[in-house]
Amino acid sequence: MAVKYAIFLGCTVPVRAMSYEVSARKVAGGLGIELVDIPEFSCCGYPVKSVHQDTTLLMAARNLSLAEERGLDITTLCSACTSVLTEAARRLSSDGELLGKVNEQLKKLGRKYSGRTRVKHFARVIYEDVGLDKVRESVKRDISSLRIASHYGCHYLKPSEIYDRFDDPEVPASLDALVEAAGAVPVDYVTKKECCGGAILGVDENIALSMTKQKLDDISKRGADAINLVCPFCNIMYGANQRKVQSKYGVKYDLPILYYPQVLGLAMGMEPEELALNMNPIKPKSLLAKLG
């Protein structure tokens, strides 16, 4: 069965997490996932949910309608985009009255939406549509020397009811299974389920960075070689802000972060440059040395 999706990049990935985009496209090609770009996609609507929920819903509906027009479902790289688009898709497909109201607004933009688009995070596409067996078959390089701690983040799994509970948010396992299927060693740690703090970085930097620090402390203690991420905003906290945490608290981690497509890409035999590993905020030199 051909796996084909419209790829929803959102705001952060194409500007601040290009290595995620590069590696996701590369890995998709290798796994036979066809990704279709829709240049008219806007912000998903998540950042205005706290301010005005009707606007979030209409922005999400417009994005969903663009994919529907082309007969495609959506795959996302950012977990916040995943949650807002999934929530809107579910509400609009099950509530005819709401769909009618949204269509009255969409009409003013010359658009309409019938409620058909489905949304799935790219990691979940690999986990479910491709499947762990195929992932294992795609492995060409031994990366078993790498110990990798997965950060699930919040919106990849929760609220679980909008994601058909494909993974258990209290005992998450899907990302560890993906790391294992790629041939690396998954590392468990105490604060695995905790939030990165990214959503309140602009409200209270002290609290947000403390939240980031807690997890960096725990992951470092377990001797992981890298953190595995599936959200560009979590990367802003663990990657871009790792140095800030280090200088603020007088600690040292130098802990590389990898997006899951980079982990899998390495295992699939792709070169670090092809996966734009050098663009990650913490240079993964030590990690690459381990791979030889």
């Binding site: 705001c11 194409p14 500007v15 205005v48 933009l109 919106h155 929760k158 403390s210």
Partner: protein, 175 residues
Amino acid sequence: MDIVITDLDPRFKHEVAKEEGGERVKYCFQCGTCTSGCPVSEIDSKYNPRCIIRMVILGMREQVLRSDFIWLCSTCYTCYERCPQDVRITEVMNALKNMAVREGYIHPAFRAQAELIGSHGRLYEIDEFTEEKREELGLARLSGDIAEVAEIFKITGLAELLSEASQEPVRTASA
């Protein structure tokens, strides 16, 4: 925080329950599961979801809507998953913030984000530096501003809301 009985607004909880996301607020029986698992409360007790919901039920309208602490929810949905009464606390917080905005209180970080999205259709303006970097990596150019989003802001009334004067939420020691 002092509770002045003559200042309480008994209609407030009903108002919140009518707001999208706030529907189940009255089901709260104050067990504290939300606060005990909250990653923000763990670091700073100023944010206390159980307490905020109690304030809603008591009718402390002003103290809730103008306070800065309602903006501290990191929307991690841990409480949402665990609440035995299915109060859907994360969505209650969204409802409260939406109401606060209409009362003229908007956190400056959220105002700035909304204004950027209203102008560009995205959180970041796409500059030539970004486009060049993308080209180097073999990625397609981005399509600049998405003008339809400005239209959306007008249709929903958010553009008008943002054009009105607003205040920063009031700093408070704790809920």
